[in-house]
Symmetry: C3
Subunit: 237 residues, 3 copies
Amino acid sequence: DEPVVNTECRLTEFVGTTTLGDTIGLVIANVDPALHEAMGIDKKYRSIGIMGARTGAGPHIMAADEAVKATNTEVISIELPRDTKGGAGHGSLILFGAEDVSDAKRAVEVALNAVNEKFGDVYANDAGHIELQYTARASYACNKAFNAPLGKSFGLIVGAPAAIGVVIADTALKAANVEVLAYSSPSNGTSLSNESILAICGDSGAVRQAVLTAKEVGVKLLETMGGSAPSVTTPYI
Amino acid sequence: DEPVVNTECRLTEFVGTTTLGDTIGLVIANVDPALHEAMGIDKKYRSIGIMGARTGAGPHIMAADEAVKATNTEVISIELPRDTKGGAGHGSLILFGAEDVSDAKRAVEVALNAVNEKFGDVYANDAGHIELQYTARASYACNKAFNAPLGKSFGLIVGAPAAIGVVIADTALKAANVEVLAYSSPSNGTSLSNESILAICGDSGAVRQAVLTAKEVGVKLLETMGGSAPSVTTPYI
Amino acid sequence: DEPVVNTECRLTEFVGTTTLGDTIGLVIANVDPALHEAMGIDKKYRSIGIMGARTGAGPHIMAADEAVKATNTEVISIELPRDTKGGAGHGSLILFGAEDVSDAKRAVEVALNAVNEKFGDVYANDAGHIELQYTARASYACNKAFNAPLGKSFGLIVGAPAAIGVVIADTALKAANVEVLAYSSPSNGTSLSNESILAICGDSGAVRQAVLTAKEVGVKLLETMGGSAPSVTTPYI
């Protein structure tokens, strides 16, 4: 089914929602000074764009990466709640900063529109999920979340339960000559989620190859646990 | 439906339960010395009252606040597990200390009886929840949990997913002249829950106004995501 | 119903799965050097065995304890994600290290086969769970996870929601002369799970007595909340 996108709410703060991951996009034109200070936001950002989700963090970070590439905004913060309506992974709260409200709003719109694509290489069943992400040119969201070098190719390999993530991290690194940016596990670098996460960079062909080889092994293991694990939307890598 | 309250268990430690949030109230007349030490409880509290829940933290803290006002007990600790049976928020574990078991038991009884009311301004649907709390006179539970000044008016504004919480925190602060006590988000001040939480104090009329304005915006946004979001019980603010 | 055990996947990394807790067992014969370093594993372990689960930590740690007793392996790490498909407790990720892949694989096989038994004293209903574990002779997994003295009798008393865990920790300590190894609660020593956990050691008769007395009280309280709370498999203590 197509995710239901709702843009009918008339509040000025509302940008849009999608049922995919229970994602909502919002904007505040002039953040109240007391909140601005409590949130610790740089004074130059009068306006903030907000994208949050119950389910999904990788897809939303990659979508935010597209948004900062396309707009005059910066990524203020990326927070990963331990909430996926009972699933094994994260939810997300991503803030964009802008001097002008139209820029903040545009960033949220671009990000919301990109979420659908970035769920394309999330493969899920009742036992867990495998998530792959890939970009030929990382921008500020990937940099903030995973320390990805700007403008270089970047890839993400996620397995849940975490046991599968360990194996496909190994698979990815054996498949191509790429560099490890970060390896995260339930107690180290995740918000206690049941995932192992490998972030890699390098030559774009090698990164893509590593990600796709990990996918094949990961989906096979996940399907052994819980049966068919189709793409949540449509594969993009 | 009325929540089912069960008080039929004959164990001396049992005080009562309510299906609302899977809440249970218990008491230990003489805490075992080895446990007393392992828990790090002040020696003067021979007896402890215990209230715990799978779903709900704000309502339970506010209910505990009523209990310490009404009894000769103190709040020993408030812990917020990341458990709401798959929801976006917290569960809770609240301990009351007393020199006498009858005081500890009374505190738990008062708190259990207040939970129903304090769920009144929790509005929920499948996409998340909005929670508002308000008191004209904060006591020791609000003080312990949110640093609320004793005897002053206190309010709580919670939105889940956290993106909505950011917007209604802003709404609340613009609606009335109140003071920010704390702003929490998934990575800062929550137990990794998918909530943004604003705690405020000030003149009681202003606090109430801020809370009610935030409610209106929050429920509207939540209903845009997930349809009708009624009160869990009956609004009290 | 019997849990479904699947050993039909042909990937060399695959050892087996069980639907009990969504548990999977895997092995890597030669961990990729870059992953080896990113994971911070001792260089002497060329091979690792991996057991991970969505639901269950105590049963898996006890099962891993049997595995290290029976094989030439060591427990590298035990991580407890906050994931039980929406439940109150932990999932798990346990790594075994070995110089030889056949040892790593054997450890995972032994552990997977022991999981069924170790779920025997987990009693669950919709309101929460009570978990008891007992061994006459603790080994390296209990030592790593709970600081249990090697070769001594060890017991574990878990209650969820955490309120019940507090009471049955007290019950256990009053029932027999045992020593407290650790007391954990949502904010201290758990991964923010809604559990109170007491780890004890001492004379084996006393440990067993403490555990069984706690079980009786715990199951009674849990059943008061949520109705019948049967063993997940078959009691073993």
